[in-house]
Symmetry: C2
Amino acid sequence: MTTAEETQRHQEGALSNPSAVGLVAVIIAATDGEPRALTVQVGGQAKGRSDGLPAGPLVPEHPTLERGLRAWVERQTHQRLGYVEQLYTFGDRDRQGDDAGGLHSLSVAYLALVREVRPGGLAEASWRNWYRYLPWEDWREGRPESLGEIEAKLLSWMETATDPKLRRRREDRLALTFGLCGGTWNEERVLERYELLFEAGLIPEAQGQSGEAQDGDRRTTGQPMALDHRRVLATAIGRLRGKIKYRPVVFELMPPTFTLFQLQRTVEALSGTNLHKQNFRRLVAQQGLVEETDAITSGATGRPARLVRFRREVLLERPAPGFRLRAVRRPA
Amino acid sequence: MTTAEETQRHQEGALSNPSAVGLVAVIIAATDGEPRALTVQVGGQAKGRSDGLPAGPLVPEHPTLERGLRAWVERQTHQRLGYVEQLYTFGDRDRQGDDAGGLHSLSVAYLALVREVRPGGLAEASWRNWYRYLPWEDWREGRPESLGEIEAKLLSWMETATDPKLRRRREDRLALTFGLCGGTWNEERVLERYELLFEAGLIPEAQGQSGEAQDGDRRTTGQPMALDHRRVLATAIGRLRGKIKYRPVVFELMPPTFTLFQLQRTVEALSGTNLHKQNFRRLVAQQGLVEETDAITSGATGRPARLVRFRREVLLERPAPGFRLRAVRRPA
DNA sequence: CTCACTTATGCTCAATCTGAGCATTGTGCC
DNA sequence: GGCACAATGCTCAGATTGAGCATAAGTGAG
């Protein structure tokens, strides 16, 4: 069959593979300078319960996928979603675990940013610091200590490759993702790092995928999640870290008014790095991202700070405002 | 039902909405300084034939969606795909036309870049300049002439809003996407522009979606495509235009060796703008994106140019190499 | 052969942006 | 008042950019 024939057959509705399609949502908030994701408890008694992301079937009654997701999440969590963006569509074998009875299954993942964290809301849902699941991604206190052990294991995984070409390829990947062997750490490569760990057998969720021995230790390789949800989370973090650099999406996580330092803390929380304070303010000022209110903080230690608010107008003005975050280089 | 319950039910496989899932591929090449997409003829005799993108059912026999797409396209087109990336998953109502017999239908769209254009290959498939479908996106010869008419229509669409708030919102969107009313043109907002035209009733494909009068004219609003394929194409172009700025993906479109000017022409073709020649070379040199060969062009008019080739090593070196394209400002 | 034309390539220069740090200003606390 | 701690202002050298000028090295016409 030619492409054209196949296309035509497809477009006339003669589809051969009905599939089970679901939604997964990565719902992000940032309070107290910590990045948080909404998680739920999933899993029956047999396998034990574990953290997972909110997920559900595709709701067909909505005009678009995004609107459907929005309504679904807002109904479930009573959160108003600020910003919503489609993340990625994960297929079967990208995932692990049971196929849904022979059906091919897909998950359409969405990233959503919410402003406030309603504490009560749902019994089984809770906000968790996302670095709980990916501890090696948090460089705010300097190089994460868990990284030492991880690197050692990755290096020995590299060594297990006997084929020199394969070994070389692995070395390149280590350099690219974890900054080993002379590479540099790029905070956006969250997914690539997760996938590398997965392949190297350091991720417990990889069980059943291959028979290799699992080498997971929550202190170093983080807490597991149900199914492939950690992969989805990693995708979300990577995307968000990229996005804040050229679109003012952080403000979707901020309260109506805030101080520049709170804003900086939020950006740092997302990107997992520290920023140079004065330069950060200069950047924000130059870009005209915020405007001053006449309120001033009080009570806290140190000199009170001026409260500012996001200038919605920038969405129309500059081509692509955001933060170009330059991590401050730390001595040791 | 709570989120957690729903999630659990979902994850245990009790899915309620089996859906028809398909793939769509935007396969891009660039030859002779023109950006081209692979198109096929689709549609039966009743509706008339029209251009469409290669599409087909999801192939379940592959480990991941991407690998599946890769195999499928390579089998169909005998093209080796260089770079493949998932674009977006389009839902039903995002699309137009017939639901597939009550099934909810999804299309997972992929972007692929190929190096060479095999001319023969498929009878019904052909490479088409992508600006044929989105003529307002090509600013290489200066402001596209079709834009005058488009803007006039958009402005009158804006005026039809009686509610001042709605009118205001439309004005903002015109500024943001088409640079009207004091905004600036941003070459990455391809999808937003298409969607605006769609809403404004300037896109013939919108028929049946709403009863509004269609105002399409191929010379100004471009040639239509089947279903929502123009939307998919617009998504692809926007994504690619963004990507070339921070990842060296253009090289996936180039032959093994090429001149710097050919490279520039390709980047210009994709971005739809003109670049400053000397600065472009300086950028490429600085970033170390290419290395010289000892071959030199000959035969063409003008001084012969050195042939260069892509330095694969940069993929490992710099954090995120690509082109920051600054359009050269033209006087008129 | 020389000229006109075309493209390649080298180089300059001012304006701006960046990374890093020093200095000063308000507050709460002892 | 003196201290610790943030907020805020300001400087400064080095790198990056945008825009051009100038020169080199081919082709084709006369």
